[in-house]
């Protein structure tokens, strides 16, 4: 699996349908990932649309040296951090009820996390620091390698390794407590 790179190559060669394949393959995953940063489903969706629009408008920026998924997640991360910094995009939390947002986040979670274990892990993740959440998300939910995760997070492989080690330690305690309850 090339994580969309092949489809993107076909898109560059003029195959319009190839881009649909990329959207189907990566869009929801990207929204779920961005949501880790912004904690707002609609903002995450908005930023993900921005990332894909950038991908179309700047066709030759992607150099195929990393997987398309890693590249798209890197773009998503930088946009999310930019959003947090500047709050330029209208926040939907003000005009929509928290309940609706929760429902939509949950439906996306159900769609992406079919495994019950993963869902309970996702709930437990919310208690961890953001860096740990992102590291676990990329490696365990998105099945990316440590190197790819490090690239997206702009950290070294060792740092990601340490983050995951500490995250696992904390998660084990949380999940054990939940099981006891």
């Amino acid at each position: 699996m090339d994580n969309g790179a092949g489809s993107y190559r076909r898109f560059l060669n003029g195959d319009e349908n190839a881009f649909d394949e990329i959207v189907v393959e990566l869009f929801d995953k990207l929204v779920f990932f961005i949501n880790r940063y912004v904690n707002d489903y609609h903002t995450a969706e908005d930023l993900a649309i921005d990332v894909f629009a950038y991908l179309i408008a700047n066709k030759h920026r992607y150099n195929f040296k990393t997987s398309l998924k890693t590249y798209v997640f890197m773009l998503g991360k930088s946009r999310a951090l930019n959003y947090i910094k500047h709050r330029k995009i209208l926040s939907f939390t003000d005009i929509m009820s928290e309940e609706d947002l929760c429902d939509e986040s949950l439906s996306l979670e159900e769609k992406l996390l079919t495994d019950e274990k993963k869902r309970s892990l996702n709930t437990a993740l919310l208690t961890l620091s953001q860096d740990m959440q992102i590291a676990v998300h990329l490696v365990y939910f998105e099945d990316l390698s440590y190197d790819e995760a490090a690239k997206i997070m702009k950290k070294t492989r060792k740092q990601v390794d340490n983050l995951l080690y500490r995250a696992k330690k904390q998660l084990r305690i949380i999940l054990d407590k939940n099981e006891e309850v």
């Binding site: 189907v24 969706e45 629009a53 991908l55």
Partner: protein, 190 residues
């Protein structure tokens, strides 16, 4: 949550906006920055050219002399000649310029028109051999309506037009003498 088609439409709409923005930015660069650069480089070139032209003008102010009138006086006889040959006039003008450039600074308050006390003080200097009975030369450089008068007495060259005196080196004085000695066409003035 947006449907797949809604997402796709939104992505295409935004990508078109980005592409339009890029094109607009390119247009701004082409329509504003390039003419500005051309204008600035034109201004820079023209300023450089004007400075160069002024320098040349300064340099050629004397060199473009058309006629030189030389009056020679040894206290008893007066002789006069007019040089119209371009080569000779240029040579003399350039010699005057070169002599001025090589001249030593002249003490303030001294001039050939000063009274005796000033002249006495001047004569007392060993490097000045201006003598009352030595031959005096007057060079009148004429270019168009302009006249510049220089007087050579011993080793003192006086710019009568501007009232400045220059103390020439012996070498420059001998160059003057040599040049004048080449001129044979003198006529006596009563």
């Amino acid at each position: 949550m947006r449907s797949f088609e809604e997402r796709k439409d939104e992505i295409l709409k935004r990508s078109n906006e980005i592409i339009k923005k890029k094109k607009r930015r390119k247009k701004i660069i082409i329509s504003f920055c390039i003419p500005l650069c051309v204008f600035l480089s034109f201004v820079v070139i023209m300023t450089g050219y004007e400075n160069f032209a002024t320098e040349i003008e300064d340099d050629v102010s004397i060199a473009s002399t058309v006629t030189v009138e030389i009056n020679m006086s040894d206290g008893q006889d007066n002789e006069k000649t007019v040089i119209k040959d371009r080569v000779q006039t240029d040579e003399l003008s350039n010699l005057i310029l070169a002599s001025i450039a090589n001249s030593m600074s002249f003490p303030d308050g001294f001039s050939q028109t000063d009274d005796g006390s000033a002249e006495d003080a001047l004569y007392s200097r060993a490097d000045i051999y201006m003598q009352k009975n030595s031959v005096q030369y007057e060079f009148i450089l004429i270019s168009g309506n302009e006249k510049q008068i220089y007087k050579l007495n011993g080793n003192i060259l006086s710019d009568s037009t501007n009232g400045i005196n220059y103390l020439l080196s012996e070498e420059n004085v001998s160059e003057f003498t040599q040049m004048i000695s080449n001129i044979t066409d003198w006529e006596e003035v009563q």
